[in-house]
Amino acid sequence: MHTIELVHVTKRFGKVVAVDDLSLTIERGNFLTLLGPSGCGKTTVLRMLAGLEEPDAGDILIDGKPVFSAQEGIFVPPAKRNLGLVFQSYALWPHMTVYQNVAFGLEMAKQPKQEIQQRIGGILKDLQIGEMGQRYPQEMSGGQQQRVALARMLAPKPGIFLLDEPLSNLDARLRVDMRSELKRLHRDTGATTLYVTHDQLEALTMSTHIVVMKEGRVQQHASPAQVYRTPANLFVADFIGSPKINLLDATATLGEGGTHLKFATFEIARVLTRASGAVVAGIRPEDIRISPEPDPNGIEFKVYSVLPAGSEIVINAHRGATSVVIRETRDIQLEMDSVIWLQFDSKKINLYDKQTGSLIAAAKN
């Protein structure tokens, strides 16, 4: 239930600039996800916020009060920042039982034994590991260890949750289950949450806000829907979405009724977003309509591969050297090498500057 601000924060490790002049605000109660490829500095941001790492420059404020300031030489130690942290590796102490692990923070806060017992009993039960207090972490499954790590974070009732890829060590099914539990947890506690992941689906499903990072810099800070619909640049566009967005080079000319896009092997007219010159068009796979029958408005492609996935089908189609991916939710039968006709939804095409990669114009949606 705190506001968190990072102001022009920079962190170097030797020559590597792990976090580069990063500014970021997390409003109270928000669930903000740091998303980006491995090595982009997410963990470093989280660790600086936790106080495990000292930035080289910048300020960090919680509720407007600086907990770190390079200028003024302020540094508030981690334990005084009212936050809890779950490490990617969980970092459960192998020589302590589950109970002892969870009780540690409360003991440090010199809480009475009685209260500790009650609190931990409640948390363990809530997290469905109530019977396992006397076990050692090694004697538990990955999912259970994850819950212990959460319990340990929750026990002292922190106002800020820091979660560093907490789900990445779980198998696919468990991960999906845990997502909703985490989301529920966030809602029930209302804690301001900073969540780190490289999994875009996690980010999209759980967060109220997403910050996409690359090489220590923020690429985009927006709501999940915005990040998905209007990625701020090619990097974000490419990173978000599965199957991946289609990015096709085109020459744009402003014409009647909209922009005219000339691709290598076909053209699209009357695109609503306005631009001219060398651009890259970003088209989500679900924004392409397939017609197995000849369609005068469609463009002829050849099916390269068909990947049915139950609820949807992912189709890869070629036209000359141009290759596009389409996501189709209708149950249609397609053969490889068969011919199909594609219609691009001209209202939903984002255009990016080919030179800078940044969004020139967003499709209105």
């Binding site: 030797g14 030489g73 102490w93 440090m108």
Partner: protein, 607 residues
């Protein structure tokens, strides 16, 4: 005006930051340890150097009218460039290189082979073999040479014959009785266990999947061994070589027993001879030469494997893999290994035991056997009245001293090891961490005798925070702790490295102070390393001789020094009885601690 005001404003935060950096636990710890190392290591080295370049009182014997304490290069000149240089330095140097390289070569070959068989093959009885194989490491290195003399003594130093000659009637040639050959053989039989520990540690942490992928790609066993296994463990093997080499070079007892009778001197015996003649400064020059050689070897080693070691990232995790099948060779190899271990481990004990039962020195007759030197009453006609060792109150007093010294040193050393490990690992990459690590290694290179001699003088007065320790038990503890620093920092580093830093950070978040973290997280998680380090120190301290021989007093005499005093005075039988007693105590303790805590002395070496 403006700047005068602005200055403190911009300065204070910087100072605060710097202060915070300086007060981080591992930095504080590193600085404290550096201070300690300064006392325990740097000052002794400094005194050693200083002694060599100043006149000493005893130099009056050679040069009249010298003023003690004044600067001179006399000792360096005398050692390097005088009529006795050849005999005092160059020949011993050559002999040292020959024996040390020979010892390292054989010890490494035997040790590595055995390590591979035990870790990777389907040799029967591997568990027993590996427990037995390390026994020589727990015996004082000179016991083997004593046993060698018992067996292969010839008429050269006259007196009684050895077992061999007594049984076969064949005169043993000099080269087999004394000199480089027996020195190399006996010390190889001791140090192979050291190499075995180091290499099997490396092999255990080698990911077997690397080997298996080679196999899947169609490589034969031999190809896997030579193309994958060897290159991966070679850095470990080479570093084991260097470690063995340095230790072999510094060993004193064996070359003294087996070399001196044929005037085969090595640097350590030459150093000792000088100190015996109260030519301490000359001895220290030789000691510094030994340090220099060790540094050069390390430098060469670094050059040779510096590039390669980068890919030898051993994961530190044990991997169970299907053992290599020896097939038809399984039992023949087993028999060879057993034979070898019998020769290296049991035969020496047997011969020493037998001699301790011989009432008169020369007679191998069964009628000459007696338990006198074990349980006999003191009889002035026999060995000047030294009674059976189990009866002598001296024995028990010194046993107690040995055990107390070994336990106290072990506890302090292993704790210090964890502290050192913490400062080194957490400060990884900083100059302080590197410096601490390197200074902690220095005692490894300093000859024990010289080390002891320096401590004798150094801690006579209060020395900074350390009170005068002269003649006390604590001086023995201090010198033993200092000498073990290289091992403790190594094992401590390995142990702390195994504790992921997030485990500590989780406690930071939880609000634990550094002391709490250390007590509740670091210590419990490094227990295995701690106990292993303790065990290693315990064992080596129990058998330590040259380090403390100058420092013991009757009140603090240990088993090994009592043994040395006996054999110095020619009382071989009670001496051997003591050696056996010592070995039994060590073996029992090792067994006990291992059962209790599952510790392994290999871990104590940081292997």
């Amino acid at each position: 005006m403006m700047t005068a005001v602005a200055f403190p404003v911009s300065f204070a935060p910087t100072a605060r930051r710097a202060w915070r950096k300086l007060t981080r636990p591992h930095v504080v710890l590193g600085l404290v340890l550096l201070g300690l190392l300064f006392y325990l290591v740097m000052i002794p080295l400094f005194i050693m150097i200083q002694t060599t370049i100043t006149w000493q009182v005893e130099d009056q014997r050679l040069v009249r009218g010298v003023v003690p304490g004044e600067f001179t290069l006399f000792h360096w000149d005398r050692v390097f460039n005088s009529i006795i240089s050849q005999a005092m330095l160059w020949t011993p140097l050559q002999n040292t290189l020959v024996t040390s390289i020979g010892i390292s070569f054989f010890a490494l070959s035997i040790g590595s082979l055995l390590a591979w068989l035990v870790v990777r093959s389907d040799l029967p009885g591997k568990g027993y073999i590996s427990s037995i194989a390390i026994i020589p490491y727990m015996m004082p290195s000179w016991t083997l040479s004593l046993a060698w003399i018992v067996v292969f003594k010839n008429q050269r130093i006259g007196g009684s014959m050895g077992f061999f000659e007594a049984l076969t009637g064949i005169a043993v040639p000099d080269w087999l009785s004394y000199g480089p050959v027996p020195i190399i053989i006996t010390l190889s039989l001791h140090y192979y266990a050291f190499a075995f520990l180091l290499v099997s540690g490396a092999l255990q942490s080698l990911d077997a999947r690397l080997e298996e992928s080679g196999e899947i790609l169609g490589a034969s066993r031999w190809q896997v061994l030579t193309r994958i296994t060897f290159p991966l463990v070679i850095p470990a093997v080479l570093s084991a070589f260097i470690l063995t080499f340095s230790r072999a070079m510094g060993s004193f007892g064996t070359p003294a027993f087996l070399g001196n009778p044929v005037r085969y001197y090595v640097l350590s015996t030459s150093l000792y001879n000088n100190i015996q003649s109260r030519l301490q400064a000359d001895g220290f020059v030789i000691g510094l030469a030994m340090i220099a050689i060790a540094i050069v070897t390390i430098y060469i080693n670094q050059r040779v494997i510096g590039v390669r070691k980068s890919f030898a990232t051993l994961t530190g995790k044990g991997f169970t893999s299907t053992p290599v099948r020896l097939r038809a060779f399984r039992y023949p190899i087993f028999i060879i290994v057993i034979t070898f271990l019998t020769i290296a481990v049991f035969a020496p004990l047997l011969f020493l035991g037998y001699e301790s039962l011989m009432l008169k020195k020369n007679s191998y007759d069964l009628s000459n056997l007696s338990l006198h030197y074990w349980i006999g009453e003191s009889n002035p006609k026999i060995a000047d009245g030294i009674g059976g060792v189990l009866r002598e109150s001296q024995t028990w007093a010194s046993t107690w001293n040995s055990v107390a010294l070994a336990v106290v040193t072990g506890v302090i050393t292993s704790l210090l090891g964890i502290f050192l490990g913490y400062a080194i690992v957490k400060g990884r990459g900083t100059a302080l961490s590197k410096f601490v690590e390197q200074v902690a290694f220095l005692p490894y290179l300093m000859p024990s005798i010289a080390f002891g001699a320096i401590y004798l003088g150094m801690f006579a007065q209060p020395m900074g925070p350390i009170p005068a320790l002269y003649g006390t038990f604590w001086l023995l503890v201090l010198v033993s702790v200092a000498k073990h620093l290289p091992y403790s920092s190594r094992s401590g580093t390995a142990a702390v490295m195994q504790v992921g830093s997030e485990l500590e950070e989780a406690a930071i978040i939880g609000g634990a102070s550094w002391l709490t973290r250390f007590r509740r997280i670091i210590m419990p998680l490094t227990t295995a390393g701690l106990v292993s380090g303790f065990l290693l120190t315990f064992i080596t301290t129990m058998r330590e001789l040259s380090l403390i021989v100058l420092l013991v007093t009757p009140a603090t005499r240990t088993l090994s020094t009592l043994n040395f005093r006996y054999s110095e005075q020619g009382y071989h039988q009670p001496g051997n009885a003591l050696a056996i007693l010592l070995i039994v105590i060590v073996l029992f303790s090792e067994w006990f601690v291992r059962r209790l805590r599952g510790a392994q002395i290999g871990k104590g070496l940081g292997a």
